[in-house]
């Protein structure tokens, strides 16, 4: 990863901020994954130039990079899912356009009929006797949050009583469509069977929330843990771990457990632990007495900002 970021964007070290943006945009227009669906090499290059631009396009980060305070690696954020991942599935179908096929219809009767029918561009002409592929069958499958994260195998029962074994790959997101070849409706004549398209719905989890590749968990801590710090047991998608709460922690503060998030092809996310301080259910005389004496000497106003702003 020791590659020089300036050479990644093909600009001199002395380039102005404007030149860097220009160079980045020129490359990005050529390499953006949604402008090159299916091109893996372009995607890799796009990631590289975007990571370089993340640093060089930001005056402060660029300065730190130039001074050697940060290196070229470790700055890359996991990318959002691209549109092209949805464009081929059922969810993306309403955007797909077959307007470009009208001339092909004139050129070939066979494809004219096929595309016309499937794309809704023209009415079916009928009468032609040829083999046709069977229709795709569409299903929706609800999976548990952890199964969607880790992947699983499951069996679904079809309306006609048959069953279908489905392998859910790891890191499947809500709305993704799995295609099982040949598991749809039977073909006509010599035509092959259609595919089963299974749209995945991910059930929310009571504890884990997903944000990109990060997992977010809210963890209550006691008043003494907040003041003194300590180790607390925290659930992660890979099992329980101990997290260190620093002394003086507060509600709303977040601890980052690196590498405890979702594993994807592009890297592994983190788990973010949001702390919330919880008082004991019953306040006993000890605590009450302590609060009264403490208040005498240590008044503080957590609402000062509130008053200033509203």
């Amino acid at each position: 990863m020791a590659e020089d970021l300036y050479s990644v964007l093909d600009v001199p070290k002395t380039a102005s901020a404007g030149d860097i943006t220009k160079a980045y945009r020129k490359l990005a227009k050529k390499l953006h994954p949604d402008l090159n669906p299916g091109d893996k090499a372009a995607e890799e290059k796009f990631k590289k130039i975007t990571a370089a631009y993340d640093i060089l396009g930001d005056a402060e980060k660029r300065g730190r990079y130039d001074r050697g305070e940060i290196d070229a690696s470790g700055q890359e954020r996991p990318q959002q899912h691209y549109y092209r991942e949805y464009a081929g599935g059922q969810d993306g179908a309403r955007y797909r356009s077959t307007a470009g096929f009208e001339d092909i219809g004139a050129f070939s009767d066979l494809f004219g009929d096929l595309f016309g029918e499937r794309g809704g561009v023209r009415g079916g002409r009928g009468g032609a006797r040829f083999s046709m592929r069977g229709p795709d069958a569409q299903y929706r499958l609800e999976v548990d949050f952890l199964d969607a994260v880790n992947g699983t195998k499951t069996r679904i029962t079809l309306p006609d009583g048959g069953t279908l074994d489905v392998t859910i790959p790891a890191d499947v997101t809500d709305g993704r469509v799995l295609r099982l070849k040949g598991k749809g409706g039977p073909g006509i004549g010599e035509g092959e069977a259609g595919d089963a398209l299974i749209e995945i719905g991910v059930r929310p989890h009571p504890v884990f929330k997903r944000e990109g590749d990060d997992i977010i968990v809210e963890v209550p801590i006691t008043f003494d843990e907040a003041v003194l710090g300590g180790k607390v047991e925290v659930p992660t998608i890979g099992g329980r771990v101990f997290a260190t709460v620093p002394p003086g922690s507060n509600t709303g503060q977040t601890l980052r457990l690196r590498g405890r998030g979702i594993k994807t092809k592009s890297g592994t996310g983190d788990q973010l632990v949001r702390l919330s301080v919880v008082l004991p259910e019953r306040i006993d005389e000890d605590l009450k007495g302590f609060a009264e004496t403490w208040r005498e000497a240590h008044r503080y106003d957590p609402r000062r900002k509130l008053k200033e702003q509203a």
Binding site: L35, Y83, G92, G100, R133, G175
Partner: protein
């Protein structure tokens, strides 16, 4: 499914006004039209439009042109996939014939 507000919250630099303009222009078609709720594909598409305008510097007039082309590419890809899927299951000799005919026509010359 995402409401208008959910979707806007999940995309940096996106505002409700901007999203509504796209929906009015037909660049984004809510997965459920009656409740104006959006799917993950709509979300990914909104991110794409933002990227095209903000990150890559395309102008607002360019974006509908680009999306139209992208949609055509995915239309083509999807038809091509089913065509190839159908070819794949033909007997080997028929496949060989098809292959030969295609290469005789030249095409892209790969």
């Amino acid at each position: 499914m995402l409401s208008e507000r959910d979707l806007v919250a999940r995309v940096q630099r996106l505002t409700v006004t901007r999203l509504r303009v796209w929906v009015r222009q037909g660049l984004i078609k809510p997965a459920d039209d009656t409740t104006q709720s959006f799917s993950e594909a709509d979300l990914a598409r909104a991110i794409l439009i933002c990227n095209l305008e903000d990150q890559l510097g395309f102008s607002e007039e360019d974006v509908p042109v680009l999306l139209n082309l992208i949609d055509q590419i995915h239309g083509l890809r999807s038809e091509l996939m089913s065509l190839l899927g159908a070819l794949e299951d033909l007997p080997p000799d028929v496949r060989a014939t098809v292959k030969m005919r295609i290469s005789r026509r030249g095409g892209s010359g790969r």
